[in-house]
């Protein structure tokens, strides 16, 4: 196998090639296991599949699973453990004076060894060259051992499972149980990812709160996240009061909602109740295209077109408008979230049963009376849900405000002034080279967590409103 791998080595890295060959061998074995299980099942039934509890192909799957799963588990475990194990073995074998270095120096040194062994870098000393040879040898031996173990397990699995094939064996139930495990695992990936994100945010946030008190972060009204390089520098003390950021976020999101809710709702009512089906089938997808426009495009639309327009319009009215006003960012964000309101509301309005409308018409209600007094109240929970979802989207929106809102953390309710938002600040804090132990950087995690909690809360409220107040029309 090693010889075969070397033959291909100019094209593909050797270790990757070896893994590929191992996988291919395993795949062949699995296919063979499937075929043999199927044949075996037919044989024990005397060629009559009706005598079997499960169809022959389930016996095939059963043998294939026994062949592939244990081997895959071994290989996965090895891929996870290999770096740690190698490091332990290689560093233990180092000459004593090398092994006694401080941890960081040792790590650097080990990195060098690895680079020499795996990527063919030139060794800087004999010790490194020796260690690299040791590393490569160990790695190859371990790979061969694990590869052989995996293949042996696969073959043993085939033999074992083949023996168990009998007419009464409930192969279908067993295979389906394994499939169910796979399905559960797939569906939990998203959940575990979310938990992982929350935990990483949480730990960084806790570190942040070791530098800055929670109360200052939550209630402080001054935000200037500078950390001095030297103690005697000007402005050496940073301020981490997040209130102006959240106020700015709410101001811009509020303006966006003022734009999006009426426009979105009226559009939804028109499309659901008044528009001809032909018109609706064209306009609804078009409106939804708004949701598909990259937010960065909205961003420069806001920064280059809308913001100057708002400033000039303000100047004509004798108002002084900041060129990065909250109004401009909010207006564009409002346009962006129209489809969230209109599309979801349109769906819930359309879902109001025909019988309710007919009931109102049958009493002599006009079209607008029917819509205002019967259809909209019936659709209200869904409409509220769609508005809250749009709000959480507006609060979490980043690109538009990064480009069109300001950076100055003004605490103001005046939409003509520049404000900054939570998301903008997170971006500014993390852009460029950062040290990951200064409060300035860690503040981004605290902001992120706060934002996450707010949008998660809004989403949860939205969903529970929709579920709780939804009329059950069977």
């Amino acid at each position: 196998m090693a010889a075969l791998a070397r033959a291909f080595s100019p094209l593909i890295p050797t270790d990757f090639m070896q893994l590929l060959i191992l996988t291919a061998a395993l795949a062949l074995l699995v296919v063979f296991g499937y075929a043999s299980g199927q044949r075996r099942a037919l044989a024990v039934a005397g060629g009559n599949p009706r005598l079997l509890h499960s169809l022959p192909r389930y016996h095939g799957h059963f043998v294939a699973l026994w062949c592939g799963l244990p081997a895959l588990l071994v290989i996965t475990a090895w891929l996870v453990l290999e770096p740690t194990l190698l490091r332990l073995l290689v560093t233990n074998a180092l000459p004593a004076e090398m092994a006694d270095q401080p941890a960081e120096r040792l790590a650097l040194f080990y990195n060098e060894i690895r680079n020499v062994a795996r990527h063919g870098h030139a060794a800087t000393s004999d010790v490194v060259a020796d260690a690299a040879r040791h590393y490569a040898g160990l790695r190859q031996t371990m790979f061969m051992a694990v590869g052989s173990l995996a293949l042996a397990l696969a073959m043993a699995g085939v033999v074992f499972a083949r023996r168990r094939v009998s007419p009464d064996m409930r192969a279908r139930n067993r295979v389906e149980r394994v499939v169910a495990v796979f399905l559960v695992a797939s569906s939990t990936v998203a959940i575990f990812t979310t938990i992982g994100i929350v935990l990483s945010l949480l730990f960084e946030t806790l570190r942040f709160f070791q530098f800055v008190p929670v109360t200052e972060f939550l209630f402080g009204t001054s935000w200037s996240p500078q950390i001095a390089m030297r103690a005697d520098q000007v402005g050496s003390s940073g301020a981490f009061g997040a209130v102006p950021l959240f106020a700015g976020t709410l101001l811009i999101a509020g303006i966006a909602m003022v734009v999006a809710v009426p426009l979105g709702l009226l559009a939804a009512v028109y499309m659901a109740e008044y528009a001809q089906p032909r018109f609706r089938s064209v306009v609804k997808p078009l409106l939804e295209v708004l949701a598909g426009i990259p937010t960065v495009v909205y961003g420069f639309f806001a920064a280059l077109t809308v913001a100057p327009f708002v400033r000039d319009a303000g100047a004509m009215l004798g108002l002084s408008v900041a060129s990065e006003s909250a109004l401009a960012a909010g207006l564009v964000m409002g346009i962006m979230i129209i489809p969230f309101v209109s599309s979801l509301s349109d769906d819930v309005i359309t879902a109001v049963p025909r019988s309710l409308r007919e009931g109102a018409y049958g009493l002599g209600a006009t079209k607008s009376e029917t819509i205002k007094q019967v259809v909209l109240p019936a659709a209200l929970p869904g409409i509220v849900g769609s508005i809250l979802l749009a709000a959480s989207r507006a609060i979490g929106e980043t690109m538009i405000v990064v480009m069109a809102a300001g950076l100055a953390a003004n605490l103001t309710a005046n939409p003509l002034e520049a404000v900054t938002t939570v998301t903008t600040q997170i971006v500014t804090l993390l852009v460029g080279d950062q040290e990951f132990d200064s409060p300035k950087t860690l503040a981004a995690f605290a902001l992120g967590l706060a934002l996450f909690v707010i949008t998660l809360g809004l989403n949860a409220i939205a969903l529970s409103i929709v579920n709780k107040y939804r009329e059950k029309y069977d």
Partner: protein, 259 residues
């Protein structure tokens, strides 16, 4: 306006009434008179045009895209399809109860008060209260809901919901009530209550009902019209239609040979 002299208290007179849904003709040249103060049952197999006929009377077919009505249909001698007729006023005179109970997602009180409110029938709250109470009373629901008028109409049982819908219809004080299989979604006990109610309502209202249950037609109606394939096959006194039908098709349907 196209006035026709009312003939011995016929409430509805249909002459050569045809309905098309797009290309498909749902009703063929129907001539049918409906007497005032009686319950007229429309029976026939599914898709025979009986509901279509019913929905012509309050112009509910207007809501269907591509529906065309031809021929003449008069209510008290006035052409229902005259362009001068205001559909809203027509529907205030012709109430309708649907197949599935469809109370609005509002309180019981607001459900019944809905019609009187949109037609401005009450001068003040006391008058509205009187209309709501009276309608619930007439619908035989008052005793069951008088303590919970603020509860949602959808919280009632199916049979109560249907009687609420009847109360909602009679609150507008219509002259004619159309019922489209009003008991098909109800259990036998609720059905019996609604049938009893229909029998009581006959004193003050003209009722046209579509039903799939021939026993129901026999129990509550005075006249029965049998539709088949969009055509009116036979109409007569209920007793005559059920005991001595003139047409072999009617005979076949009521004896259960098809349908």
């Amino acid at each position: 306006m196209n006035k026709i002299v009312p003939q011995n208290s016929f409430k509805i007179i249909a002459r050569a009434l045809s309905v098309h849904y797009g290309e498909k003709q749902a009703l063929h040249q129907v001539d049918l008179d409906i007497r005032a103060g009686e319950v007229t049952a429309l029976i026939g197999p599914s898709g025979c045009g009986k509901s279509t006929f019913l929905r012509c009377i309050n112009r509910m077919n207007d809501l269907v895209d591509g529906a065309r009505v031809s021929g003449s249909l008069t209510l008290d001698g006035q052409d229902i399809y005259d362009p001068a007729v205001d559909v809203v006023q027509l529907r205030a005179r012709v109430g309708m109860v649907f197949q599935k109970p469809n109370p609005f997602p509002k309180s019981i009180y607001d459900n019944v008060a809905y019609g009187p409110r949109i037609h401005g029938m009450a001068r003040d709250q006391a008058e509205l209260d009187a209309i709501v109470n009276g309608s619930l009373e007439k619908a035989g629901l008052w005793a069951e809901v008088k303590d919970r008028l603020a509860d949602s109409g959808t919280s009632l049982s199916g049979g109560q919901q249907q009687r609420l819908c009847i109360a909602r219809a009679i609150a507008v004080e219509p002259e004619l009530i159309l019922m489209d299989e009003p008991c098909s979604a109800l259990d036998p006990i609720a059905t019996a209550k609604v049938e009893e109610l229909i029998d009581e309502l006959r004193e003050n209202y003209t009722i046209v009902m579509v039903t799939h249950s021939m026993q129901q037609a026999a129990r509550v109606s005075q006249r029965t019209a049998f539709f088949h394939m969009g055509k009116l096959i036979e109409v007569g006194d209920t007793e005559q239609v059920f005991t001595n039908p003139r047409e072999p098709l009617t005979q076949g349907y009521i004896t259960g040979r098809f349908g």
